[in-house]
């Protein structure tokens, strides 16, 4: 018998109504060294990645979010009670720091699409170099790509800074992924205090008006999936997921 793990929390009040999770299995609390893991007993080797299962995982985590800010496990985490207990004991200090970081916060997500591409960038090259053979022409083509790619990286970095400036003072921590050569150029996760979510949303609405050439997707509030990091640690600790 394995346990499907949804999240860890500092404390959770007993559910007043039964909560069901993956495959309709009841969700129960597993007390661990002053923390609580929300788990379901499952007799399956792995949990298929389906829309229904993903929504069930999120629904259980959200139920806990209504009481406190949890550290979600990655979708699909199956382990024994002993493994979860051992993980929590071994990582107690790190988990406490992580809870201190996310306490009272939610995760907000911003994604930005732009239409830049290095194919659109004109890179001028010296004429003398353009008169060489196929080998030199190949290197010049590569040079054009590299210069274009560097320009995009620079523009993407400016975009990242601009976004940071818009929400300055409202974000406890952020994780930003930049992919200058792709259309979906920026994906940011912001850890925002619950009280500040409305202001954060207003600031982003104003920012969107300022940059109409960019396409935004703003979503949340979510549990702090991007700041939990316990999935990776858990996997490294036990070699399971």
């Amino acid at each position: 018998m394995k346990l499907y793990a949804y999240c860890l929390a500092e404390s959770v009040e007993e559910f007043t109504v039964p909560v069901n999770g993956i495959s309709g299995a009841p969700v129960r609390q597993l007390a661990l060294d002053g923390l609580v893991a929300l788990v379901s007993d499952l007799e399956i080797a792995s949990v298929p990645v389906t829309r229904e299962n993903a929504l069930m995982h999120e629904a259980v985590v959200r139920t806990v979010m209504n009481q406190t800010t949890p550290l979600p496990f990655r979708f699909g985490t199956l382990a024994t009670a002993e493994q979860i207990q051992s993980y929590v004991s071994a990582r107690k200090t790190a988990l406490e720091s992580r809870f201190a970081l996310v306490r009272g916060c939610v995760e907000m997500s911003v994604k930005i699409i732009w239409n830049a591409s290095f194919n659109d960038l004109k890179v001028e090259l010296p004429k003398s170099q353009n008169e060489e053979g196929p080998g030199a022409a190949f290197l010049l083509k590569k040079k054009r790509e590299i210069v274009g790619s560097e320009r995009l990286a620079s523009e993407a970095a400016e975009l990242k800074q601009w976004l940071s400036d818009q929400i300055q003072g409202l974000v406890r921590e952020e994780q930003v992924s930049l992919r200058p050569t792709e259309k979906l150029v920026l994906a940011a996760s912001h850890l925002v205090e619950r009280d500040a979510v409305a202001t954060y949303t207003q600031k982003l609405t104003a920012a969107r008006l300022e940059r109409p050439e960019l396409h935004f997707l703003v979503s949340g509030p979510w549990a702090p999936y991007s700041f939990a990091n316990i999935d990776l640690e858990f996997e490294m600790h036990f070699g399971v997921s």
Binding site: L139, I146, K183, L184, D195, N229
Partner: protein, 121 residues
């Protein structure tokens, strides 16, 4: 931390965008290109290993290209050396393309997710 009047009940998450279809398309693309683990299924293990090895070769190939361009810009190569270096890298690119086709891999398949550090390429 329990919720208090200062920390009111959460609402359901909002998703706000004026370009929903565009984001769905891009997010599907990202999901499709996320590297999965090597499948131990005997039928696909060869492709999984090829993907890993070719990703590393592609990474090194790009480093070589950058180094070659820098040397060309630095002016320490004669026109003949530039031509030879360019031809060698061009053939390397063609060979890698051939191997990708052989293993049924696309350009976007050759990448590794390094977690918080980002992607390899």
């Amino acid at each position: 931390m329990k919720l208090s009047p200062e920390h009111p009940q959460l609402v359901e998450p909002d998703i706000e965008t004026s370009h929903a279809e565009e984001f769905v398309e891009q997010l599907r693309h990202v999901a499709d290109t996320l590297p999965s683990r090597i499948n131990i299924d005997p039928q696909s293990v060869e492709q999984g290993l090829a993907k890993l090895v070719l990703t590393l070769i592609e990474f090194i190939r790009r480093l070589l290209e950058k180094q070659a361009v820098r040397r060309m810009e630095g002016g320490d190569l004669s026109p003949e050396q530039i031509e030879e270096l360019g031809l060698a890298l061009m053939r390397l690119e063609a060979k890698l393309q051939e191997l990708k086709t052989q293993f049924g891999l696309a350009d976007e398949d050759l990448n590794l997710d390094l977690g918080p550090i980002g992607r390899l390429i």
